[in-house]
């Protein structure tokens, strides 16, 4: 593997007394789609929150593209090209669809580029175009997820951190969201994906890590993991 774009080492993180991550190490190479799978409460979201600096880790290093992320504030990550689509989508319900997209360009001033990117979001998600001036609380769950991914696109991210993008979506929309993730990856974005829908996630990713109780317990190529009986039993719904 070439020099990893994101390298996380010995990450430890707690909420007060509750230790959420004991020791988490993984890496993501440029151009990859990597999935973190794990049961509820395993620490998947906490891992992403640590990477995007929403939570300070107790120990460990996070290096992105040669930068030590633990020295940065969350809002500085955008400048490096990291976009985090959080669990529950993180849409600002009191803003319109357009305002949600514009807010994601907070650090940009290339208005031609911004307008072109808005067009690009609308061509990927035509349903959003019809709702552009609508308050985003009025969007369906699927549309909100599209908006959340659209926002990440507006950030021109090199690394996308996606926390359960398929959560709560109808099967047809799940397919659509995964198709778009692959599309963004083809256009150059590296993706770190957290998914309950392990089957779909493993299909589109190259590699995966299995997280259990705040520890990485298994790793390998996505294809291998899909064949592994343990994984099939625990995460892919096999009996």
């Amino acid at each position: 593997m070439n020099q990893p774009l994101l390298q996380v080492d010995g990450l430890k993180l707690a909420y007060g007394q509750i230790i959420a991550l004991h020791e988490v190490s993984f890496e993501v190479a440029k151009g990859e789609i990597v999935t973190l799978i794990g049961a509820n409460g395993a620490g998947k979201s906490s891992t992403l929150r640590a990477v995007s600096r929403l939570l300070p880790p107790l120990a460990g290093t996070i290096v992105f593209d040669g930068h030590d992320l633990t020295k940065l504030a969350p809002h500085e990550l955008i400048g490096l090209g990291i976009a985090h689509v959080p669990e529950g989508r993180g849409i600002f319900g009191n803003l319109t669809v357009r305002e949600n997209l514009l807010l994601a360009t907070f650090q940009r001033n290339d208005w031609d580029g911004i307008n072109a990117d808005i067009e690009r979001v609308f061509s990927l998600f035509p349903r959003l175009r019809e709702r552009i001036e609508q308050s985003s609380t009025t969007l369906s769950g699927g549309e909100q997820q599209m908006l959340a991914v659209g926002r990440a696109l507006m950030m021109r991210a090199k690394l996308l951190l996606l926390d359960e993008p398929s959560m709560g979506l109808a099967p047809i929309l799940v397919k659509e969201i995964f198709r778009i993730i692959v599309e963004l990856n083809k256009q150059g974005a590296t993706v770190l994906l957290v998914e309950q829908n392990a089957n779909m996630a493993l299909k589109i990713s190259q590699r995966a890590y299995v997280l259990e109780n705040g520890r990485i317990v298994k790793t390998g190529s996505a294809a291998d993991l899909r064949q592994s009986p343990d994984i099939r039993k625990a995460y892919l719904g096999d009996d």
Partner: protein
């Protein structure tokens, strides 16, 4: 309108009522503008931090004194006095947030509110120590011209207060609605932590919010000085409470609500003063607060959902 003498009796009666209404509307607009300018600061700060900044009324008072200093001691003209006062008040607001509120950002809101009360008392006692307790005359920044049209009395001061307040509020509203900084301010009131994922420096937005709120309160301080025209270190207490009521009436957290609430409270007070003994005036304002809290706690413009605009 009837021109001959036969209808004169009715004619006179109607126009007298009409004149009175216009006169009261002007007075209500003047008072309402002042409440609205102050209410905006309460509302915006509450919107981003869920903090009721009880020091805000005293910032308004300090604004008056800063303006007095610039106008009398430094002899700046009216426009420069206003601009310099706004800048100084903005600086004061940013400083207060930085020193007193930021360390408490994740503390229980009760602690922050108590701190705000403490900051207010500090500002009062500090001003008292510097300028003394006796009221001081505020200079006429503008040549005061009295206009009388058909029995309606107004002045250059009153018209300036009404018009300049309106211009400032429209400008603020456009800023909050159209710019990405304004969007970030609104987004903060939805979810403080997620905003940083958009690349927004939350501390900077909070500072801008304080700067806007305190500079508008300082303009209100100038207006009160011009209209009444004495100022004293305790003037911020009652006006501050009234503006807070205006913010609650409009729906605290909402910019347009604060503006509407200010005008509503101004109108109610002028009507109360015109029709009731003047001692009822304050009681009525507080009765309104209690009533609104009972029947519509989210105010006229506030959203009833948990996450507020």
């Amino acid at each position: 309108m009837p021109m001959n003498g036969y209808y004169g009796f009715y004619h006179d009666n109607l126009t007298r009522r009409g004149r009175l209404m216009i006169q009261q509307a002007l007075n209500a607009l003047q008072l309402g503008s002042i409440y609205a300018l102050i209410a905006l600061g309460y509302s915006m700060v509450y919107g981003v931090l869920r903090l009721i900044n009880f020091a805000h009324g005293d910032i308004f008072m300090v604004g008056s004194y800063i303006a007095l200093y610039f106008a009398v001691k430094l002899n700046l003209g009216a426009p420069l006095t206003v601009l310099a006062t706004m800048a100084a008040a903005a600086f004061l607001g940013v400083l207060i947030e930085r020193i007193a509120y930021r360390p408490l950002r994740s503390a229980p809101r009760v602690s922050a509110v108590i701190t705000a009360l403490g900051v207010g008392i500090f500002l009062e006692t500090f001003t008292l120590a510097v300028v003394g307790p006796q009221p001081q005359a505020f200079p006429e920044l503008l040549p005061k011209i009295i206009y009388k049209f058909d029995g309606i009395r107004t002045s250059s001061t009153q018209l300036t207060i009404i018009l300049l307040s309106f211009v400032l509020m429209v400008a603020l509203d456009q800023f909050v609605q159209r710019t990405r900084t304004g969007m970030a301010m609104r987004a903060l009131s939805w979810d403080l932590h997620l905003v940083s994922l958009m690349g927004v420096d939350i501390d900077r937005i909070v500072s801008i919010t304080f700067a806007l709120g305190t500079s508008l309160a300082a303009v209100a301080g100038i207006f009160v000085g011009l209209a009444y025209p004495v100022i004293d270190p305790y003037m911020g207490i009652m006006v501050g409470w009234k503006a807070f009521i205006a913010a609650v009436v409009g729906g605290i957290g909402s910019v347009r609500g604060a503006m509407a609430g200010g005008y509503i409270l101004g109108a109610i007070e002028i009507l109360a003063v015109a029709n009731l003994p003047s001692t009822y005036r304050d009681m009525i304002a507080f009765a309104i607060l209690l009533f609104i809290l009972l029947v519509k706690p989210s105010g006229f413009f506030g959203s009833p959902v948990s996450k507020k605009v």
